[in-house]
Amino acid sequence: MIDATWDGENDSLETQVDGKQFLSFLLDEEEYGIDILRVQELRGWTAVTHVPDMPAYLKGVLNLRGAIIPVIDLRERFGLPTLEYGPTTVVIVVKVDSGSCERVMGIIVDAVAETYTLTPDQIQPSPQIGGVINAEFIMGLVAQGEKMVVLMDIDELMNSDELAIESSAQTEG
């Protein structure tokens, strides 16, 4: 679906003919990648407003130029040890396809790493077991030199559990 726009840009950017660009970020010394077209912007960490009675990974809501967006700490989401937020802490603002609508959300990561252009054949299927992340959130794996980059399915991730529009936690009397 993105290919159409992609081709045009590729010519001018002189990158590989076929492929998608990914933005990678660091989380507890692991590198993860997400589709760069889903990234709306990068922000430094600013204080958020706590929303009561939400899981710990849901840090709260943020004022993004008038829009109220939820912010998720990915470390806590995946059960990694928490880290004090510092100058390099980055909030990646992503656009999430939630079926009926597109939602804008923020994810807190340790740092932004690189951008990669990847062809489909470079992407290996995700392993069924292991890793800190649920397999359903993983789109695939990519070897970059000695490192392994985990490509994340942002839609799966950001529509799961408490983040689902129709939350099961919501009780209707």
Partner: protein, 815 residues
């Protein structure tokens, strides 16, 4: 080069629905042959018909046409305005609405109903015609003779008006005078053109026409003379009163406004017409939309095929158009080609035999509307068309200077301004901080600039908010119809009084308030008002009164629905509530508390489930709907004298007056409307349940408490405080105390949805952005109560309240 009309369908529909509303409200206001009102209705029907024709909604157009014909007869006094006729027209309005909806993937219109109404319309049309139908044998004659019905007291005036040739030079315009005459009554104008010289010798600044005017009106001679007052020195005028013996003037009159007259149109385009991009067949289509059209082609001008220039148009056409449209509409069609053709429109060559008097008539209309019209023809042309056209011209529809804007655009604007306000607040804060640190004239200038910015942004915000505000009459407008229908069904006589309908309210609130209001009014009609017999027996006037009153009060709009009926039957409500287990016998309730029980879920006092109120929707739904808008509904009742429902609503859903509170180190906003009061309660007034302070004893009332810290899972206070700050809030008739840490100021906040990028969270109505750019959540009291109030506490509170009351009343008895 056909234009894609579909893009205009939306506008057409919108206008049509508005037109229908106009028709409906005018019909309800129509109690006699009020010409102005009938004209309004007619105009609305006419434009719906025209639009429907253009967009090919032939069903709508056909149906509306019949309605229009009937209205036209009412307008000309050929049909009397009777309640059954008005009801029929109201039903027709519904039918048109249905048909319109059916064109837009709405439910298919009920063909039976439409046919039935159409038949009745036709019958109404035929009703007065029956004795006359033979003379013409066509629909055309329908209108012929009825004017005599209109009013026997009316006089016929024969006016001869022969202006001096110089009349036009002194700035007078005969057509205006005729229009003024038309306002007095039914006017028939005949132009005598004998004196008009040849075109070659015609002086366009002179007038050569003499008019003969027949006016049927109950006006006095002075009134007529007054119209000609300004020209009396420049014309020969004779005004003679005739006897209204016959239908003859009426016939003449009907010639002009009669529905479906036959016009002959000669259309001889210049050879170069096609070269300018015009296409005759489009014109013909437009003509055909006006009525029945017969086309004859005159090909005598055609040369041999070998000499034929395909780019030249050598044909001419002759049309016979059977239509009730004013001549204007025909000329309008040819408007674009008038410089490139010869056009003659001959009106009113009637199919039926003509009474002698009308012989002059064709003369009048024969005056060719020369499309390539030289000036001299103009006065005559205007004159000849004016009788047909002037009902529209004379009283132009009140044009309000407004534009249609999509609500999305306005919402975007409001959002943008909301952000501007926040940015401004932020700048203001920075300015203040800066001025503390630095001093100097620059800072002062900055400060005054910021102050100005603040004023301007506030004003801008108010102005923008006002864009969304509409008078509540948009909601109220449908109630006269509702009352009319419902009271008819119930056999009650009701007078509806509406006041304050100009009170403005936000469009989103308005959209949602309609249904609850309908329900409340139905309720008043059904349960509140008694039947005429009962009323008379109770010594009240037979006709009951329902009053709707809207006004502003402290940032809210208050709508009172007052009836002078029997009032609420407190005893019956109490019994019913006992039956349903909503109250227990040990509860001691005041009358007003019992009355409030009607808003409880599962409560309905109607003994017989009626078609009206017993729809399974109770007052609880009304209350829930109103409260979901951040409003309240209350009832006051005086047995035997009526009841009053008071609905209060926020003026807008986009902004809210909020009380800022602090809990732990978070700031929340409590809607000001929910707050009853805020108190500093000391420990003694808190009564513990199971060791926890869960009840507040305040003003002889036990109020359950919600500790926001524990509800929001925030760290609890270290030590037990000697006193605590409590905001007492109310929702659904229930009070709750919120324990907060600190009260900040009150502030108007822009409500932002949490759902857009996140989801609905129980207990929060949304969020807003504070002056420092941070987000604060807005508490939703109803949701909060649902979440935070355990049943045990609520029940204990209630029990203790009942206990206190019983004690009080016992003491009262003893005393």
């Amino acid at each position: 080069m056909s234009i894609d009309l579909s893009q205009f369908i939306g506008t057409f529909l919108e206008e049509s629905y508005e037109g229908l509303e106009v028709m409906e409200s005018s019909l309800l206001a129509l109690d006699s042959a009020d010409e102005e009102t009938i004209n309004t209705i007619f105009r609305a029907a006419h434009s719906i018909k025209g639009g429907a024709g253009t967009f090919g909604f032939s069903e709508v157009a056909d149906f509306t046409h019949v309605v229009e014909t009937l209205l036209d007869e009412m307008r000309s006094g050929k049909q009397e305005v009777t309640p059954p006729l008005v009801n029929l027209l109201l039903e027709s309005v519904d039918c048109i609405k249905m048909l319109l909806e059916a064109t837009q993937d709405g439910p298919a219109a009920d063909a039976n109903q439409i046919n039935q109404v159409q038949e009745r319309l036709q019958k109404a049309l035929d009703g007065d015609v029956s004795d006359n139908a033979s003379s013409g044998g066509t629909e055309t004659s329908v209108a012929t003779a009825e004017v005599s019905v209109s009013s026997p007291s009316q006089l016929a005036w024969e006016i001869e008006f022969k202006p001096h040739p110089g009349l036009l030079q002194s700035g007078h315009e005969p057509a205006f005078m005729f229009e003024a005459l038309q306002d007095l009554g039914e006017l028939n104008v005949v132009a005598k053109l004998k004196k008009v010289p040849d075109l070659s010798s015609l002086d366009p600044e002179q007038i050569f026409i003499k008019w003969q005017l027949n006016l049927i009106s109950n006006c006095s001679k002075e009134e007529i003379e007054e119209i000609f007052e300004w020209v009396e020195d420049e014309c020969d005028l004779s005004i003679v009163q005739k006897e209204v013996e016959a239908e003859k003037p009426a016939v003449a009159e009907s010639q002009q406004t009669d529905s479906r007259e036959v016009r002959e149109i000669l259309f001889k385009p210049d050879a170069s017409l096609l070269a300018t991009g015009n296409e005759p067949s489009f014109l013909f289509q437009a003509l055909a939309d006006l009525g029945e059209l017969e086309i004859e082609v005159d090909s005598s001008g055609l040369p041999d095929l070998d000499q034929l220039d395909p780019e030249k148009l050598l044909l001419s056409w002759r049309f016979k158009l059977r239509s009730d449209c004013p001549e204007e509409e025909i000329t309008e069609i040819f408007e674009w080609v008038e410089d490139e053709c010869e056009l003659t429109i001959q009106g009113a060559s009637k199919v039926s035999t003509q009474p002698a008097e009308t012989e002059t008539q064709p003369v009048a209309s024969e005056q060719p509307v020369e499309a390539a019209s030289d000036k001299p023809a103009t006065p005559a042309a205007v004159q000849s068309t004016s009788p047909a056209a002037s009902p529209r011209k004379a009283k132009p529809a009140a044009e309000s200077s407004s534009i249609r804007v999509e609500t999305d655009k306005i919402d975007a604007l409001i959002n943008r301004v909301g952000e501007l306000v926040i940015t401004q607040a932020m700048l203001g804060q920075v300015g203040d901080e800066l001025s503390d640190l630095v001093s100097g004239s620059e800072i002062e200038r900055l400060q005054s600039g910021l102050e100005q910015l603040e004023r301007n942004t506030r004003d801008l915000q108010e102005d923008v908010m006002r864009v969304r505000m509409l008078p509540i009459s948009f909601v109220f407008n449908r109630f006269p119809r509702l009352v009319h229908d419902v009271s008819g069904k119930l056999g009650k006589k009701v007078e509806l009084i509406i006041t304050g309908e100009q009170t403005e309210i936000d469009k989103t609130v308005m959209e949602k308030i309609g249904d609850p209001m309908v329900h409340l009014i139905r309720n008043s009609l059904d349960h509140g008002l008694e039947s005429p017999e009962e009323r008379v027996a109770a010594g009240k006037p037979e006709t009951g009164k329902v009053q709707l009153d809207a006004y502003h009060q402290g940032g809210f709009i208050i709508i009172d629905i007052i009836d002078d009926g029997r009032g609420l039957n407190t005893e019956k409500i109490y019994q019913k509530a006992l039956e349903k287990g909503l109250v227990t016998t040990d509860q001691n309730l005041s009358d007003s508390e019992i009355n409030e029980l009607i808003f409880k879920p599962g409560f309905s006092t109607a003994e017989a489930v009626s078609d009206l109120s017993g729809r399974g929707v109770g007052m609880d739904v009304v209350r829930r709907n109103i409260e979901s808008l951040g409003g309240h509904v209350r009832v006051k009742s005086e047995p035997g004298h009526g009841s009053t429902f008071t609905v209060s609503l926020p003026l807008t859903l986009a902004i809210l007056d909020g009380q800022l509170i602090r809990v732990h180190n978070e700031t929340y906003i409590v809607p000001l409307i929910s707050i009853v009061e805020t108190i500093l309660a000391d420990k003694s007034s808190l009564s513990p349940i199971a060791g926890e302070n869960k009840l507040l004893h305040f003003r002889d009332e036990y109020i359950p408490l919600i500790n926001l810290r524990s509800l929001f899972k925030l760290p609890m206070q270290e030590e037990q405080m000697e006193s605590c700050l409590i905001a007492i809030v109310e929702n659904g008739g229930q009070k709750v105390g919120l324990i907060v840490d600190e009260l900040f100021g009150q502030q108007q906040v822009v409500i932002k949805s949490l759902e857009v990028n996140f989801k609905r969270i129980e207990g929060f109505a949304g969020a807003t952005i504070l002056g420092d750019g941070s987000v604060a959540l807005i508490l939703d009291i109803a949701g909060l109560m649902k979440r935070g109030l355990d049943h045990e506490t609520a029940r204990t509170a209630k029990k203790r309240n009942d206990q206190t009351r019983t004690d009080d009343s016992l003491q009262g008895v003893v005393a």
